[in-house]
């Protein structure tokens, strides 16, 4: 169907004889119809249904089955999956390692999830770790980090980072972070801050020493969100005291650091995050000034500010985008 298109392009002298011949050859082949995504989705749904079904089945019959049996069953799945993965694993490398086949990633995921369930079950039913929750979360975390690096699995790295956050006493998934968190507690703000900085430093180290450099995105993604939100929370928490100023200064510093970093690595995503979070910070400062100084015309001025700054940030984003593309 495209032959006419390419013949015209050829007649206009835009493509050479060799390319036209290649295109002609391609058009003579019957194109293959790919069922890749359909079958993958089916596989995913099948696994989901099966595990849900089995889960409910066990839950309903826990009295007759008994905890030991369930634990043994989970351990069997976990052990079997890990056995498979270690048997088929590719040699370790500090670069990217491709999975030996496309089921491998799923099996590794199954192994890790069943490991987490196993530990959780042990703790819930038998209180193996007692009240020593730190240890109960530390061990799975270490295992997850090890597995993520050993088998080069980004999904498990994310699980490990989440586990790190749990270990530090908070939960890191963005939704829970926004919905459940009590931002008024100072300890939580500091914990978040430390977590975010640790993750950002991890991203930096990953980059600097070229140790699994493709892991940098995950570290930086979580680190950036957590640090920004913690700094904004700190700003509002210490609204009246001088610490608010410190938080804002730190935020500005972070923005500058991430701004140069996103230019260095040509990342549109991090550039967007920097712009949006900086916009929120700047706006909260401006609103603060407007509210404290002017009472009457406060809303009109605020609206004017948002219109003007919105246009300004659009121009900024467009220009930065252009700059990043040519940089």
């Amino acid at each position: 169907m495209t032959d006419k298109l390419y013949e015209t392009l050829h007649a206009e002298g835009l493509i050479g004889d060799e390319s036209l011949a290649k295109i002609r050859l391609k058009q003579q082949q019957t194109p293959l119809f790919s069922l890749h995504w359909e079958v993958r989705t089916l596989l995913y749904i099948g696994v989901l249904l099966l595990t849900t079904g089995l889960g409910i089945l066990i839950y309903e019959n826990i009295d007759t089955i008994g905890h030991q049996f369930v634990l043994a069953f989970i351990a069997l799945i976990c052990g079997g999956s890990f056995f498979y993965c270690f048997k088929h694993k590719m040699p370790f490398s500090v670069g990217k390692v491709k999975a030996p086949n496309s089921f491998f990633d799923y099996i590794l995921l199954l192994a890790c999830i069943s490991m987490l369930i196993f530990v959780g079950y042990l703790q819930y039913e038998y209180k193996v770790f007692g009240t020593n929750y730190g240890l109960a979360t530390l061990i799975p975390m270490l295992v997850l980090f090890y597995v993520a690096y050993q088998f080069d699995h980004l999904g498990i790295l994310s699980m490990a980072i989440a586990n790190l956050a749990v270990w530090m006493g908070v939960s890191v998934t963005p939704k829970q972070l926004l919905l459940n968190s009590d931002f008024d507690s100072t300890t939580i703000i500091y914990t978040y801050l430390i977590l975010g900085i640790v993750l950002l430093v991890a991203a930096l180290i990953t980059q600097r020493y070229v140790f699994k450099p493709h892991f940098k995105f995950s570290y930086q993604h979580y680190g950036l969100h957590v640090t920004y939100i913690a700094l904004l929370a700190a700003y509002f928490h210490f609204y009246e005291s001088g610490l608010a100023l410190v938080a804002m200064a730190a935020l500005a510093g972070l923005s500058y650091w991430m701004y140069t970093d996103s230019f260095k690595h040509k990342s549109f995503y991090f550039l967007l995050l920097v712009v949006l979070y900086s916009y929120i910070a700047l706006s909260s400062l401006v609103i603060r000034v407007l509210v404290s100084k002017i009472n009457e015309a406060g809303f009109e001025l605020a609206a004017l500010y948002f219109i003007g700054s919105g246009v300004g940030f659009i121009m900024l984003l467009i220009n930065l985008n252009k700059k990043l593309k040519t940089a």
Partner: protein, 392 residues
């Protein structure tokens, strides 16, 4: 009619087509560059992240600008009237036209945001007019769907937007449904059949036209229309939908007349979609069918309790996994033109993009297949290989 520069739109489609072949190595990068220079695209279309950022910022600007305007107008009781919303929508629309015509924004986030805001405000303002005067709920929805239809068709034609075409299609089918109920005496009993015919007709129109050169800029819109009309075609004969509607609208309970027909429709139609989709190599039919199996399963489960849910889930999960295993084994090497290898591009619907442009070619009705594999990948893709391990 289209607000965007048509030559650029055509060039964009051409560039996309050529870029695909360039990525697969059929065309050299130098040739690609000369083609791009010869057929330039002057739109401002940033990448996805910038698009999201611009969308958010545009929404902020518009809401505060309109808030400020409303605040000024509040003293004069202007904002009480429906005309105010239409006025606000009109300002957004003017801004949209200016951005598109003056700044050449195309899918940049700015035009997306303005289009959605303008459309919803104008439709909302007009709906307010009729909400007060209409007698019943049905009357109101009748008028409302007519408004959305007219507005949606206009915006679709002018901005070739997929979301707007989805709204128009739903509004059209809803309008005919409500009209049928109002005009025909035995409306509710015959409505399923009327809707089946209508949805099938809509699908057929969209399907036969979406490959035509004339409508090449509306190709994505016509794909959306196809998906929606396929879904409505199924819903029109779905037992649960019919029973719920007859209870809601006429207060009838108990089994539906011609129940058997609808049961057959409910259960078999998704499989018909899948079969035809695979046979004709039509991705849209295939994926819609797969999606609707879930609808069929939920409908059946709603009326018949064959076995407890846990056993059901386990059993279905096993059956699906067995099927997947069978397919992977069978298609380890490509068979009869089917493969499990990853398509070369991760497109939403694989082959929505145009095939031929500057030359008037003869178009066959058979939908184009996704980009074929280059020769080296032929012996079963990464996925197909997994079937042999048999460990899952």
């Amino acid at each position: 009619m289209i607000a965007y520069n048509k030559t650029w739109l055509t060039n964009l489609l051409l560039q996309d087509e050529v870029k695909k072949d360039a990525a697969q190595g059929y065309i050299t990068p130098v040739e690609l560059k000369t083609i791009e220079d010869k057929y330039p695209v002057g739109f401002y279309t940033p990448n996805l992240f910038v698009r999201i950022g611009l969308f958010i910022l545009t929404c902020v600007i518009v809401s505060f600008a309109q808030g400020l305007l409303s605040l000024m107008a509040a003293s004069g009781d202007l904002i009480e009237s429906f005309g105010w919303f239409i006025f606000l929508g009109a300002t957004a629309y003017i801004a949209l036209e200016l951005m598109v015509n003056g700044k050449f924004h195309y899918r940049s986030g700015v035009d997306d945001a303005l289009l959605v805001i303008a459309g919803s405000q104008i439709a909302g303002g007009m709906a307010m007019v009729f909400y007060k005067s209409s007698q019943s709920g049905v009357d109101f929805f009748l008028v409302f769907s007519a408004i959305v239809l007219v507005l949606g068709v206009f915006l679709t034609l002018r901005f070739t937007d997929m979301l707007m075409s989805a709204f128009s299609c739903v509004a059209f089918l809803g309008l005919v449904f409500l009209l049928w109920l109002k005009v025909i005496p035995a409306g509710l009993a015959t409505a399923p059949f009327a809707m089946m015919v209508l949805a099938a007709g809509t699908y057929w129109l969209a399907f036969t036209n979406h490959q035509k050169k004339r409508y090449v800029h509306y190709q994505n819109c016509l794909v959306v229309v196809q998906i929606i009309s396929l879904l409505v075609l199924y819903a029109a004969g779905n037992y649960f939908v019919i029973q719920t509607l007859s209870t809601e609208m006429a207060g009838k309970t108990g089994p539906v007349p011609f129940g058997l027909v609808f049961w057959v429709w409910t259960v078999l139609l998704p499989f018909v979609y899948i079969y035809v989709g695979i046979y004709k190599k039509n991705t849209i039919l295939l994926r819609t069918g797969l999606l609707l199996i879930a609808g069929a399963a939920i409908t059946v489960r709603n009326y018949m309790h064959l076995m407890p849910i846990d056993r059901m889930l386990t059993l279905v999960g096993v059956v699906i996994l067995v099927i997947v295993y069978g397919i992977s084994k069978y298609l380890k090497t490509p068979q009869h033109g089917y493969t499990l290898a990853e398509p070369d591009e991760a497109n939403l619907m694989d082959h929505l993009k145009v095939e031929s442009l500057i030359a008037a070619g003869t178009f066959s009705h058979a939908p184009a297949a996704p980009a074929p594999e280059s020769g080296t990948k032929f012996g079963g893709g990464s996925f197909g290989g997994g079937g042999s391990s048999g460990d899952f």
